[in-house]
């Protein structure tokens, strides 16, 4: 059975309407929040700007690492949650199907229209995103870029592979590294993320 993303989106939207008395949204094993993408984009892109040209690579690495570590913990929580057991697990036939489950959750979260283009087990993963909020936000606020700007999705792509093919949680984070080979912010028709085994 293929992963039915619509069911997952429906579950996330319904679940995100349930709050406990403290105003916290506990869903898929994590505490969820909803806020404007403008906030996240301003944080990332102004952080990069404040770090200056000489520390641009460092800023990029920090933002990707923050997202990868988050993606690793988040999706580990998600795949061990009651909701995953009830909604996603019945649709999983092969371990690799988990990646489709992860991307469906990412779409449900409003991160973009993620599509898995290629998965070579234990080796590489290619994800395309036609409309990532990071690329759209960068273009709207700063104009065309010379480099990829989707740091969050880049880290998350690496985290997906870490969870499937890295050492057991929590030892496997950063086993894989993702690059953004194409980005709408630099004029490409879509953003492309390619995760491969980290070197060294």
């Amino acid at each position: 059975m293929a992963i039915d993303g619509t069911k997952i989106i429906h579950a996330v939207m319904e679940g995100s309407r349930i709050r406990e008395s403290k105003g916290i949204i506990p869903l898929f094993g994590v505490y969820l929040s909803l806020f404007s993408v403008k906030y996240y984009n301003r944080l990332s892109f102004d952080f990069e700007k404040k770090m200056g040209e000489s520390r641009r690579n460092e800023a990029e690495k920090l933002l990707v690492a923050a997202a990868q570590e988050c993606g690793y913990a988040t999706f580990q929580g998600i795949r061990n949650s009651w909701e995953w057991d009830q909604i996603v697990k019945p649709m999983i036939e092969h371990p690799e199907d988990q990646i489709d489950g992860f991307t469906a959750v990412a779409v449900a979260f409003g991160w973009g229209d993620l599509v898995v283009k290629e998965l070579v087990p234990k080796r590489s993963l290619v994800i395309h995103v036609g409309d990532s909020y990071e690329a759209r936000g960068f273009l709207e606020d700063y104009g065309p870029s010379e480099s990829g700007k989707c740091y969050m999705l880049r880290g998350v792509t690496g985290a997906f592979m870490d969870l499937l093919y890295g050492d057991d949680y929590p030892e496997g984070c950063f086993t894989f590294t993702a690059e953004e080979s194409r980005c709408r912010a630099k004029g490409d028709p879509y953003c492309e993320f390619v995760a491969r085994k980290s070197s060294g």
Binding site: R19, L32, S33, V37, K38, G110
Partner: protein, 175 residues
């Protein structure tokens, strides 16, 4: 009766999550806390200011838009009720407003996403840590009183991350 209907405001436009027509994203405490820690550790006070200003600007825009949509809300009480409802239903926590006027006032938060998330990941801290909530409040109050952006300053006097019972925010008008 509060006319603000957050369930109606939250929806989807294809793959995008929208709240009252504006693009939103869902993120969990792992990402929110990781971002905060990265900015604080790397930029220090400048990173704290960036967290605050980013939340202020985004919420000023959101809230100004919402107030225009709900122009039937005239009283301060109903506007602050809408703010508390929005904060709660976005999973950000609970806010209680005390004597807020154009010159400022006090807000008490007995629970928040950032406190719960920070404690779950990193434990207590020795300095106040609710920079997001401070910025969120500054933007919201600016929109309610129709002042220019950056008109209000919000200081966190007590913080649950430091062991206080509640987070206590003091709002003052700079303009």
């Amino acid at each position: 009766m509060l006319a603000f209907n957050w369930q109606r405001e939250l929806g989807r436009e294809g793959h995008r999550v929208v709240f009252s027509g504006q693009a939103f994203a869902m993120h969990c405490h792992h990402y929110n806390i990781n971002l905060q820690k990265t900015l604080e550790d790397t930029l220090g006070p400048e990173g704290v200011d960036l967290l605050y200003r980013s939340a202020e600007e985004a919420n000023y825009a959101n809230f100004s838009y919402l107030l225009a949509q709900y122009s039937q809300l005239k009283s301060l009480k109903s506007k602050f009720e809408m703010a508390a409802t929005m904060f709660q239903n976005c999973g950000m926590g609970i806010l209680h407003f005390h004597h807020i006027g154009p010159q400022g006032g006090q807000v008490v938060s007995p629970s928040s996403h950032h406190v719960t998330g920070w404690l779950a990941k990193l434990g207590r801290r020795t300095t106040p840590g609710c920079h997001f909530t401070r910025g969120w409040l500054a933007g919201m109050v600016g929109a309610v009183f129709e002042k220019p952006l950056n008109s209000y300053r919000v200081v966190e006097r007590e913080c649950k991350l430091m062991g206080h019972r509640d987070c206590v925010f003091e709002i003052s008008c700079d303009a």
